[in-house]
């Protein structure tokens, strides 16, 4: 079990990579963009992005803006 932060919330996960993590957390099929430790991770690279203890994951979605 790894301890990471997702959108600043502490999360325990078993996922090996970012794509698995999104599925594990219930984001499957959602329109979201991701960053890990401040670096953008494109959808096409999520499978290759290995999740490690201490990672800071950001999951963003469309929102109102001016």
């Amino acid at each position: 079990m790894k301890q990471i932060h997702v959108n600043s919330e502490q999360v325990n996960c078993e996922s090996l990579n970012l794509a698995e993590l999104l599925n594990e957390l219930g984001y499957a099929g959602a329109i979201v963009a991701t960053a890990v430790n401040g670096q953008f991770v494109a959808q096409t690279n999520r499978q290759q992005l290995v999740i490690k203890t201490g990672d800071q994951v950001e999951v963003l979605a469309p929102m109102q803006g001016g």
Partner: protein, 257 residues
Amino acid sequence: MRNFYGVELDTPFMLGTAQYPSPQILTDAFTRSRASVATVSLRREASSDKAGQYFWQLIQNLNVKVLPNTAGCHSVKEAVTTAHMAREIFSTNWIKLEVIGEEDTLHPDVFALVEATRILIEDGFDVFPYTTEDLVVADRLVNLGCKVLMPWGAPIGSGMGLNNVFGLRALRAHFPDIAMVIDAGIGLPSQATQAMELGMDAILLNTAVAKAGDPAQMAEAFACAIYAGQLAEAACPMLPRDMASPSTPVLGKGFLE
């Protein structure tokens, strides 16, 4: 109307999507505004909360072009990362680049703006930089490849209108081929008319419509006002003069003393 990175808009009205009392009122406001562009943003979403997914569906139903922003970013890195995330989600190279430098006025950090613009243009973005009326900053942005400038009228959400008409007029005159959008500070339709009369190519606003008592009606008022200013500017307005000049012909006036 000048185009925006090769895109010709049906109307010179860009409308924000924040702060509306309800999704239905947002939709009504867009319908009556005839806006061509909707500005959107990115925020964190919990997996249990589908707000972002519903919002995106709503925006897609408006059938307008989408302009994502980097609102709330305070550094080059934050703005560049947000821009990349926005490009993936919204499938557009357009980015309204905001890098805020001061909290009370939301004054753009123009130094960070120039650096972020350089990086993003190299990455293939079409940058819409939220800037001031500063000519030197504008020159740097244009030299980096910006084909659009978005000078503020006044601080975001202030509704003060055009705080520096002289500066905006000078900016317009210095960059006759660059599409220019007044972004921020517009509170009343008459201020939008004034901006268009200065030769601006579009108006971007949000709060003035969303916070009106009747947002949909205010959206229509802005649509009329922006169109009026656009028509007036195209009609070549008369030049002001210091002295009076009678409009009724003096020649042929009866001698009635």
